[in-house]
Point group: none
Chain length 198, copies 4
């Protein structure tokens, strides 16, 4: 009876529903009740799948991290140069924003409402952002070293690009507009070019 290939998929279903709600309303503003109502399960059933709300929160962030990794890989793996990949990240961001229900970065939003920097949620956020930072740094090292910069200088450029990426993401959310991303992309493009002309 392979008709139900999502056997045991209830946990995933809960994560999926919660992901949408956590992202759109915020982690703290979303109650367990709404999640189980939308999932059409009993209170107790939720707690057979998750030890606590926080565990669901962690599952959400981990799923989102994997999702972003997949998206970015898919969007960039056909591109040849690191410079193209870097710029694609910003284009991708812009496309995303244009889609429905843009509420900024789930990780930054979660960090913003979680004061305790040592909490497991905050650690998950930091892990994701470290990964993103390293992605930009690796691409930047590849690009800028070819232009004659030292590894350290190239990594510093990657970090700066990361900060522009993060800043534009937050400000796109704040102003509910894509201009911060376009501006950041332009600046990054200039940075990439300047290196080539050195």
């Amino acid at each position: 009876m392979p008709e139900n290939t999502t056997a045991g998929g209830k946990r995933e279903e809960i994560i999926e529903i919660a992901s949408r709600l956590f992202y759109e309303q915020g982690y703290g503003a979303t109650g367990i009740k709404q999640i189980i109502d939308e999932a059409a399960i009993a209170k107790g059933t939720f707690y057979t799948h998750f030890r606590s709300k926080e565990e669901l929160g962690l599952a959400w962030l981990r799923a989102r991290h994997a999702q972003w990794g997949g998206w970015f890989e898919e969007a960039t793996n056909h591109l040849k140069t690191s410079a193209q990949k870097i710029l694609k990240a910003f284009s991708f961001l812009e496309e995303w924003i244009s889609g429905a229900n843009f509420r900024g970065c789930a990780f930054i939003n979660t960090m913003a409402e979680t004061p305790d920097a040592d909490s497991s949620m905050r650690n998950e956020v930091a892990r994701h952002k470290t990964s993103l930072l390293e992605t930009f740094q690796d691409l930047a090292i590849d690009h800028f070293k070819a232009a004659g910069l030292t590894t350290a200088a190239a990594r510093q450029k990657g970090t700066a690009i990361y900060l522009l990426f993060e800043g534009s993401l937050v400000e796109a959310q704040n102003f509910n507009d894509t201009w911060p991303i376009q501006t950041a992309r332009k600046e990054v493009k200039a940075m990439l070019k300047a290196a080539n002309s050195t």
Copy 2:
């Protein structure tokens, strides 16, 4: 009638207490009860001074906006060049972080936990950030026009600096470290110099 210079002093006192709590714990995570307990007033007294929690939230953001403006003015008014003032913004940020209880930017945090972009809180955030953006743009226009850039190009530079500022602010909070600010400051310094050498 200057005999009672503390008229409405209770209102300010509530704002002061709430400011600390909203900033340290987050707006949503802070309850009215804690505020009135720390202010040692009755529930009803709170509502004679504020129509709602949201109104207190707005008062908090407005007070914080004024406070930041004062801090920045005080920190930069003795500086001669726009470039110095721009760099001072980053230095100031770094000093602030080193102080106790750094929890990032109150405005960004509030935005992150407030989904409705049309709400009064979000409007207050946008107003503050617009002001900050314009500050950087004005300084950049002053600096980069002298270096031969068009107004539009100079403003674009100012916007990029703003995005680096915002990005470094968020990431300093995320990583609980000053390196994002130092990196951003270095990049901005390079941008300012590059213009001069053009």
Copy 3:
């Protein structure tokens, strides 16, 4: 308008209702919901009067302690000798048991279901029992010193009487019968007499 002499008596009303429920069902087995339902008040109203369920539990024990003290005083103040007062305590106990809804000693029951000996509830229990112990000791000292015993020996007798009292109270509850109290009373009577004949 002195027609409502129980103004602000809502707190007392809650204690009264809770006292009955805590005693009959046990502290742990009684939920806040049942208390507020019987008091016909909202959840939140309960918490304007009591910080927590435990605070209500403490209020219950304190009220019960005062009540017992009043009962015992009333039952014994017309008696002349300490021996009579001691024996009256047992008679009183027996009468009480014959009344409806005897569920043993509220303090012992509470102690039995409260493992943490340092908790405030347990401290309240200990305070009450210390008071009762001292009552028996004082009466015993008065009685037995007249019979020639040393203060220490007399106090030891009082303590033994206390232990018989407690034991008979618990066993009356256990066997749902008055015989433990009658037996204890007989034994105490013999102890009191033996001293006189010494």
Copy 4:
């Protein structure tokens, strides 16, 4: 078929774990979940071995009754006189208290938190206490008849000793100290002697 001497060994294991938890935390305060977690079995497995939590509670009390019987037998079977055996009961109690995790008498605690005197748990408690009462009565009859008392008078002494035993047990728990047992033992010793000197 002695080949599988651990048949039903899992049932005993559950009882052992539950015994510790029920005793230390109380029957009502201990959830099935904690028991199955510590036993490392599934929810369903628990219910294949026990019809209900109450059935496990009964098994616990029965095991404890047997255990106490064994302890007392072992502690007293080498003693020659009934008086020695009676006093040994108190000494034994004192030693036990000094051990770790003393939480009073499991039976009294269970009675205290079980209002329904006709429940199976309460019946089990009563059965145990009746057995203990008879033990003291039999020993007392043996001792006091030799001293010239009637059977009825001797049994009454045994009952009084039982009440002192129970009282001291409860108060040792209440005050978290051994003095109630020492006092009770002293009083019992006097009772036993007085009879001899009659």
